[in-house]
């Protein structure tokens, strides 16, 4: 299942999604993270962040909302304390970078430039931080500014993570492609609302929070399909993937690789199970290489 993602060769197309796999350590108790195609780190920012106060998790039908607020120890601490251990897993590490203003992003990237990480995932789509974050991911004009700025200082592979709240996901993808992104990953969480009717106020202090999980899969899959068909970049599909069938759907929609998020919480062994399931599936169907089915429903890949 070896997969080429923008020139980086992954063992397989299964990537742990940012913010759902920590820095890998917790899952090490359950399986060897080295079997994964890659791990995207928890969203990193220039300065350490303690994240949001109040409720952070709310369950919804077949989904969950979160308002973690990019709690992280900072890029510098990540590089010093987490990266060496993550390196030892023997899988590709993708640094997911968030931020408030363009300068923050730039400085964070600069620090990462000095490491041996080969892929940066630029999170312009986190709905849970007040300043910056998702704001960049809604309109093409803002996205263009940040991708252009980051591209200038980033010699690593640059994967831009798109928000499903973007006004037009395909235009957004074009914009990122034009500004030199090497790959796109989508989707981040959907902006959503839950109300605590007993107390007559929003469940979350920030009012809205990000929806993820199986509930969003049909919408996310449609977006991945549209983007993969439209742009000539590798697309990493994300959203509600819980089993190997979901992963195969994304590949058939045109995704080069996939990320698994919420499902890691539901069962820490989700990802090894998906890898195994896909291997069996490929064997059963006589598929040598996923390119035989990639985009087979009508994308431009495969």
């Amino acid at each position: 299942m070896r997969t080429d993602l923008a020139g980086i060769s992954l063992k397989n197309p299964l990537i742990a999604a940012s913010g759902t796999f920590g820095f890998g350590q917790e899952f090490g108790e359950y399986f060897d993270p080295g079997i994964l195609g890659a791990i995207a780190t928890k969203g990193l920012t220039l300065e350490p962040r303690m994240g949001n106060r109040g409720r952070r998790i709310h369950e919804t039908p077949a989904g969950m909302m979160n308002s973690i607020g990019l709690q992280n120890p900072s890029v510098a601490v990540f590089i010093a304390e987490e990266l060496p251990r993550m390196r030892s897993y023997g899988t590709e590490i993708i640094a997911n970078v968030g931020g408030a203003g363009i300068e923050d992003y730039e400085e964070a990237i600069e620090l990462l430039e000095a490491t041996d990480i080969s892929i940066i995932e630029l999170n312009i789509s986190c709905p849970n931080v007040k300043e910056g974050g998702m704001a960049f991911g809604i309109r093409c004009s803002s996205a263009r500014r940040i991708v252009r700025a980051i591209r200038r200082c980033c010699t690593k592979k640059l994967m831009v993570k798109l928000s499903p709240n973007a006004e037009n996901i395909v235009d957004m993808a074009y914009t990122c492609a034009e500004e030199g992104a090497d790959a796109l990953s989508l989707v981040n969480t959907f902006n959503a609302l839950a109300i605590d009717i007993e107390n007559r106020r929003p469940v979350f202090n920030n009012v809205t929070a990000g929806l993820s999980g199986p509930a969003i899969k049909p919408i996310a899959l449609r977006m991945v399909y549209e983007v993969a068909k439209a742009v000539d970049l590798p697309v990493v599909g994300i959203g509600g993937i819980s089993n190997w069938k979901d992963a195969v759907e994304y590949i058939m929609a045109g995704a080069t690789a996939v990320q698994v998020g919420t499902a890691n919480f539901v069962d820490p062994l989700t990802m090894p199970k998906i890898i195994e399931g896909m291997q069996l599936y490929m064997k059963r169907e006589g598929i040598q290489n996923l390119s035989e089915i990639r985009g087979i429903i009508g994308g431009n890949h495969g």
Binding site: I57, M64, I68, G213, D267, P268
Partner: protein, 241 residues
């Protein structure tokens, strides 16, 4: 590193002890520390996320949960019958041991009494146990064998001390206190206790239970900590409640 994850266990019994409070026994040989918890769910049905439940008791061949039916997840659980199965991840979290050299009291409020039983049972020396209830007490008899002193408080005054369990006495002549219950109770206790070590078992909404999602974070003097992984038991001194 073991490839464990969720495992299935058979329900041996699952009965209401009073209205809305159930005791469930699962068959199996369980090894866990007192104060730990499991993430629990039904197979292929029910809500997406698992539910955290404390270890109430472990005996030869079975594990006991004591739980309140408050929403969909616990309602589904309450309908399980002997022979059905549930899936467990764990044991998870840190633990608490009553040590012989420390004069210790365990304080539980409502369904917060659940973890106290196994803590008492595994204690090096019998702790005093204080249990508080809104109205009628439940499950209190189970504690008798493991308690130095056992005292009950009810808000309505029907049984035992009338009022909050936290107000039963001055706590400062204990060396150590362990408390579990609703947040207002834990806060009240924190304010009252001056001169002894206070440990609190916290609840938080959890997605993963294994420290990955940061959903269960609680603020401490050492920064954010995870109830599922760094807790559920914290020294009151370290918490910013």
């Amino acid at each position: 590193m073991e490839n464990k994850g969720y495992r299935e266990f058979p329900v041996i019994s699952n009965e209401a002890v009073v209205e809305n409070i159930y005791r469930m026994d699962l068959g199996g040989d369980f090894i866990a520390e007192p104060g730990q918890f499991f993430m629990l769910r039904s197979k292929g049905a029910g809500p997406l996320l698992s539910r955290p439940l404390s270890i109430c008791d472990i005996s030869q061949g079975y594990l006991t949960f004591l739980y309140a039916v408050v929403g969909e997840g616990t309602a589904i659980l309450s309908r399980k019958r002997p022979g059905d199965a549930v899936q467990l991840l764990g044991p998870l979290g840190n633990s608490y041991k009553v040590k012989s050299e420390r004069k210790t009291a365990l304080i539980g409020g409502g369904i917060g009494i659940a973890p106290l039983l196994y803590i008492a049972k595994t204690a090096e020396i019998k702790p005093d146990i204080y249990l508080g209830f809104r109205d009628a007490p439940f499950f209190e008899k189970e504690f008798e064998a493991y308690a130095g002193k056992l005292q009950i408080a009810t808000e309505t005054g029907g049984v035992g001390y009338r009022g909050f369990v936290t107000d039963i006495r001055n706590w400062d002549d204990y060396d150590e206190l362990f408390a579990c219950g609703p947040m207002p109770m834990l806060k009240a206790l924190s304010r009252k206790v001056v001169d002894c070590e206070l440990y609190l078992s916290l609840e938080a909404h959890m997605a993963c239970g294994i420290g990955a999602c940061l959903g269960c974070a609680v603020e401490t003097v050492h920064g954010m900590k995870r109830v599922c992984k760094d807790g559920p038991i914290f020294s009151a001194k370290e918490l910013i409640l």
